[in-house]
Amino acid sequence: MSTTVSQLDKVKDGPWGGGKSPWNLEYGKIMMWFFLVSDAFTFSAFLIYYGAQKFAQPSWIDADKVFQSIPGIAESGQPLVFVGIMTFILIMSSVTMVLAVEAGHRNSKHEVVKWMLWTILGGLCFIGCQAIEWSHLHHQGFWFGRNPATGLTDTDAIVNALQPYFTKEISYTAALQFSNLFFTITGFHGFHVSIGILLNIIVLSMTLNNTFERRGTYLMVEKVGLYWHFVDLVWVFVFTFFYLI
């Protein structure tokens, strides 16, 4: 009887040999990542369609002329300032989220609570700004399926209604496509922010209930954090493609 072990019978001890997680990640966290990858595909599809439309249309609306007010301060002539504030709020809330995750690693309950509260506050401020932006555009005549010239039949009236938003030649279709895509994409993003706030509130109450302290790990804060950073990430792209370019 030979004591040598054949190649096939050797116990595999590599990361994919079984018996342990090859990625050293908890199942729920991997699933959150996979969900976010799929969600990134949805947002990519939206934004790529927006880009393709902008590329295809002979003319396009001038974003600096659509978004140029600061609510309560200036009615016009200030492009990018208000959206800059919104961007800052969202990046800031991403920082407070990652600080909550960091506090979770140290099992410091009161710090997790403090940073989660700041994150929720940031999210609410952002949603509030978004609501102001939406109602402002709605008052100007932009909405799903309509632009400021919708319903007008006289050519001069259409030109007058759309002239303030164009630098190049006027296009009714371009204004309509812009309107539809702006409300769809920022609406889908705002929906994600709202869900994120809800998840943050749930995790905050679980923290206050000592659920994670009993569990011994604040991993759930990390999973919600991934989602929240993703929302911030999407906004970085929305900001570039809608407001800058």
Partner: protein, 125 residues
């Protein structure tokens, strides 16, 4: 269940080393600086001083800055940089499809652009 706890505990431990408070704030300042740079280009160079014109060059700069910001958020805030390399590949290689999709729709958009230039839609609704 014990296996699950072990992974969770190990996971938390491994990531605790990745990001401390100092690093979080330095990433924040990078993001803030990149955003400020975008504003400087948009409001200063293009809008105010008129040094640069709106066009391909400025757009390419914006997109590069956006991708750098995206890298910092995903790599540091979402900790992807500190995960196992096979997981990083698993989550990022699929975006090849997105690159393909961008090329696809730009080709399509180019064709439509030609068609719409020859048959303008305005003032006909």
């Amino acid at each position: 269940m014990s296996n699950h706890d072990h992974i969770a505990a190990h996971d938390a431990h491994a990531h605790g080393e990745g990001m401390d408070k100092k690093r979080i704030w330095s990433v924040f300042f990078v993001l803030l600086a990149l955003t400020a740079l975008e504003f400087l280009i948009a409001l200063g160079f293009v809008h105010h001083w008129g040094i640069l014109q709106k066009g391909t060059l400025v757009n390419v700069i914006y997109i590069i800055l956006t991708l750098v910001k995206a890298f910092y958020i995903v790599a540091f805030f979402m900790h992807l940089k500190f995960e196992k390399s096979s997981f990083i590949v698993c989550c990022s290689v699929v975006f090849l499809f997105i690159i393909y999709f961008i090329i696809l729709l730009l080709v399509e958009g180019d064709f439509l652009h030609g068609a719409m230039t020859h048959q303008p839609l305005f003032p006909h609704k």
